[in-house]
């Protein structure tokens, strides 16, 4: 009986823990970019590109490492272990490649406010959370010409 439980539930648990989120990339409405290529987004996420083409400094904002959105990014883009995410950024600060750690914020509300206030901000939230930001100074970026939820959108 126990064996059956193990056989049935363990794969389900593993599947659930590995589930990815559909991520929406949000930026300040004043940002002239409305669509971004996956490669460019990867460069931004890895802090290789630190300025938008209009000269604004890019401010990266993540949800906590425990969130499914950030874990999806770590798996798909950084390709490192979750535990190594802090070290990844610490090494960049230590090497003086970046001036400070990316901002990590718990609440989508706070993320929305910061993105709406900082012209160069870019944040990664769940697709389901887009509806909550309709009236704020924020827009959702397309990636490779696709919007979140559409076929061919890379973060899902």
């Amino acid at each position: 009986m126990r064996l059956i439980l193990v056989i049935v539930f363990v794969p389900i648990v593993i599947f659930m823990t590995n589930a990815y989120a559909t991520i929406a990339v949000i930026v300040n409405k004043s940002n002239p970019v409305s669509d971004i290529s996956y490669n460019e987004l990867k460069q931004i996420l890895e802090a290789r590109k630190q300025y938008w083409d209009n000269g604004e400094k890019i401010i990266l904002i993540f949800k906590p490492i425990t969130s499914v959105e950030t874990r999806t990014l770590i798996d798909m883009v950084y390709k490192i272990k979750y535990e190594a995410f802090d070290k990844y950024w610490f090494l960049k600060v230590y090497d003086n490649k970046i001036m400070e750690f990316p901002k990590i914020l718990n609440s989508t509300g706070t993320i929305n406010i910061l993105v709406s206030e900082i012209p160069g901000a870019i944040a990664f939230i769940g697709k389901d959370e887009i509806s909550r930001i309709a009236n704020i100074n924020i827009k959702v970026l397309g990636v490779n010409g696709k919007m979140p939820g559409e076929d061919g959108y890379p973060f899902k």
Binding site: Q50, K81, L91, Y94, N96, E100, T108, G109, N135
Partner: protein, 469 residues
Amino acid sequence: MTRFLNPIVIFIITLLLITTKCVYAQEISADEYQQLKNRLKAEFMQKLKEEIKKELIDELKSEYTIEPRQKQVAEKPITTVKVNDLKNESKEVSTREEETVKYTEHQKWAEEIELDKARYRLGEGLTFGEQLLVIRGFGNVNARYRDNNIGEGFDSGNNFFSLGEFDLFMTSKLSNRISFLNETVFEFDRGKDTEGRTEPIEIDIERLLIHYDVNNLLKIDVGKFFLPIGYWIPTYNHGVWFQTTMDRPDIVNFQDKGGPIPTHDTGIKVSGSALLEGFDLNYTCAITNGRGVNTTQRQNFDDMNDKKALSLQFEVQPHIVEGLRLGPSVYYDVIPEDETNPNRENEIREIIYGGHIVYTMRNVELLTEAFVVNHDEVSGDVFNTFGGYAQFAYTINKFKPYYRYDYIDYDNSDTFYSESKFDFFDTNTHTIGLRYELSHFNAIKFEYSHGVFDDEDVNIIGLQTAFSF
């Protein structure tokens, strides 16, 4: 017959059920029951915590939707209760006071938001009162056993504990594009200080710089920094916790620890990245004071000659192979003559050619570097030193087994090295080890190395705990 069969079937089923229940009852012992109880309790508490957290987050979110809420408060008629009697009147006053307090708080908060907005528009993001100094640090403690002592610098016993570095790393943002960085290391060294005491603590300002971030193509550092030579020097340097192994490769060891290549210097450094189609091209160029008369003399305050050192490095990161970085570097300097040493009467022109191929992706870490140090004395003698290393590591959960091969071949007649206070041995070393991540910021490293230093065999076993705080 069938009349009797039904009670028999019912009896058999009942018996089976009882038996099964007994079996299961027997299977769960008191300990297991307790464990089950604890687990269920823990799950319940976890669920409760999550629900509370969710509620708090929702509350926080609603707090942040300041405009609608403020609007709601503003639009809400203050006289919501009819003034019919004294009781109602006092109730109304109380409600009004609460509303007023809420409204004032929200107004204050909205003003703060406006202020922040203005700061970011100015491109500052900081005011004097908000400027922060972030201090992080590194440390390590080692234990070692070796079966052979070689050279004058190794006159201690065969097994010992040693304190590594106590490294304070400080950063502070001066604006969105300007920052300060300092790395001060307290080193516990053998030997004697100026007052004849043994085991002095040496305080080294390893990095002290101001950083100007102009754009992707142009970043400027002014002060003391890591030289852009190869991969290891500008990447790991003093943070022992960052590096996989216990020690640095011999070829990139610190100058004041007997390393043949300069690692830090004072001057100006310009760097940037061009994000091109198919690959990223990173460059770094530094103009610095250069070396003093020997490998250990620092030139942080002034320069003994007017000839500056020049470092130039290019690095390519092809998009087609994620995690791959490769590129050449070159360092040029004129080392001043040492008037106190008759064997060092001439200036030495030093050129260091370097190259690295590095691949770090997922669980794999592959680092390879090679250098040629060319010393050309004005008298006409030319000396070449070759060196390099190859390191491979693979992460398996919290474990990271690794292997490194170190090689250096000095030109024994090179007076710059032979007249130094350190022994520069030809090195041929194999190192195997295991790193274990004990926690997020603490790693234990255990390694064995077999080295041949100028034809002498040395076996070393080491254990290190390295941490960041």
